[in-house]
Symmetry: C2
Subunit: 319 residues, 2 copies
């Protein structure tokens, strides 16, 4: 049984699964592997670093002839980054977190489908008004950055699906197995955008220590915070905290974010802690659903496995 | 298409839907209406007030010959409350929030199925060890009280389903329509425990102002806090905050809960605010999914409508 939806039809792909464009982790190899598996691989263009993009977009276009795309952080990029990506002929551009409006026109002019990720109703209404081709409804279950205080995938997806119809909506946040994909479809989504599960693949750019922490962890070991962005000196808008595996520096500064932001000593202490090995070198962004992630697979196989498990789940439910 | 599951088999009921035993709101009439509709109505026994229980259990046993049950707050009751309920021959006893162990034995001795609600993995493991007949996995989307920081329904349900198998698991939190019920089944649940949606019925004990606020509200108007319990002088364990529609007193004290707890003047100001009409008389507990609640129905009809919408959703997905 194939899971054919408005999303698979739009891109002429086999499975209703998109790779979350995790900045720095979803490189060309991972995106290509997902596309080769029948999903839509999205390179994590993040803040639009030119060299990184050049390298990873060359890799993805070299490794697959199937549709793939690229995602950016709207708050962090300029139009040049989008133009640079468009010159590689992606099948989709995805915009997340912040005002997407400055980037809509070049994407439209290139005739490329536009995917906009939203975290609350205001963002969802804006994405509908901008006539996005696909809207991603992201719940606060998601690993990495998300809305604050955040909707939950379970209740946000049907609300956005109703608001956006007939535009296809992808569910994001907390989806790590085929049951989650089947549930997303039941909630009215046309597919799932999946991030953390793809960190446990052979193609991710994540360090093996990240993959290991995800496989061993539980959602109860994760927490949402802006502390690590402040400590790292990364100017994420404070309305987008990030879910990461519990971290000693977050424990120390939780609830005192405003104070941390102006405390140079504390920020230096963070850097020293990393230098000495007392603190992990990088935040480990992770979903509330990591309990369900127990092995490392090829991303190409994983796409098919997730789709098959979702199809089997739906088949079981009809009997 | 009937949605037959291990839960419907256990109670010989038609639909995999249970009424959340909302303390003070899920009275005998509402529970009976849900049972008459083919679900499992659970009277909200709450803290076990004897007079309230006497009255509402008389009503439910008078209004339906179908299976019904009663739920209690484990942190708040004594064994007498459970014995009192058991004397009315319920088909189920449900225990939520706190240590269920003191109440297991009388329920077992009466030969009545035991339902235990859990909000994290430790509670889930305990419920499995106690050999609960049904486990309710509650996400932080839920209206009213829940775990802290709380798992999400989307990721917690499959984790508990795996842990508890073959014991049937109900999904709770964020489920307000048939799509949600279908998604719960896809995630591995044997049904859904639904609360807030049943506040918008003709049989609820909730004031019409509560129902109106739920119908008009969005999940984005809700927030989780312990402030209202502290202000009301209700000794809920602080590990169980409650989701309610945004409230001026919560805005004022959010983040200063410990201070509020020892500030008699502030607690008196809360009472005065209610007296003068400046503050709402009662917290309006509400789910993150209230966007999906748009009308008042008979609870009996609602059970069938939810089940039919879930079945139609699953039928649509197989084509």
């Amino acid at each position: 049984m194939a899971l054919r939806t408005a999303f698979t039809d739009l891109f002429s792909i086999e499975h209703p699964i998109a790779l979350a464009p995790m900045g720095g982790y979803a490189g060309g190899e991972l995106a290509a592997a997902v596309s080769e598996g029948g999903g839509l691989g999205l390179v994590g263009g993040g803040r639009g670093h030119q060299d990184w993009l050049d390298r990873e977009l060359a890799i993805v276009s070299d490794r697959t002839t199937k549709p793939w795309g690229v995602g950016f952080l709207s708050w962090a990029i300029d139009v040049d980054a989008v133009e640079q990506a468009l010159s590689r002929h992606p099948s989709a551009v995805m915009l997340s977190f912040g005002d997407p409006r400055p980037f809509v026109r070049p994407v439209r002019e290139a005739g490329v489908p536009l995917i906009i990720q939203v975290t609350d109703l205001d963002e969802a209404r804006q994405a509908v008004d901008l006539d996005a081709d696909v809207i991603v409804a992201q719940g606060a279950e998601a690993g990495g950055h998300g809305g604050s205080p955040g909707r939950s995938t379970f209740s946000f997806v049907p609300v956005v699906a109703d608001l956006a119809a007939p535009t296809p909506v992808l569910a994001a946040g907390g989806i790590a197995d085929g049951r989650g994909l089947a549930a997303a479809l039941a909630l009215g989504a046309a597919g799932a955008l999946i991030g953390t599960r793809f960190q446990a693949t052979v193609e991710t750019l994540a360090d093996t220590s990240v993959t290991k922490a995800i496989i061993e962890g539980s959602g109860e070991d994760t927490e949402r915070s802006t502390v690590l962005d402040i400590a790292r000196g990364v100017p994420w808008p404070s309305r987008y905290p990030a879910r990461a595996i519990r971290h000693p520096f977050v424990e120390r500064w939780h609830g005192r974010e405003a104070q941390l932001a102006v405390d140079d000593d504390a920020q230096r202490a963070y850097q020293r802690g990393i230098g000495s090995g007392e603190l992990p070198a990088l935040p480990i962004w992770a979903s509330d659903a990591i309990d369900l992630i127990t092995d490392v697979r090829s991303a190409t196989d994983l796409v098919g496995d997730l789709a098959a498990e979702a199809a089997a789940t739906l088949a079981r439910l009809r009997s």
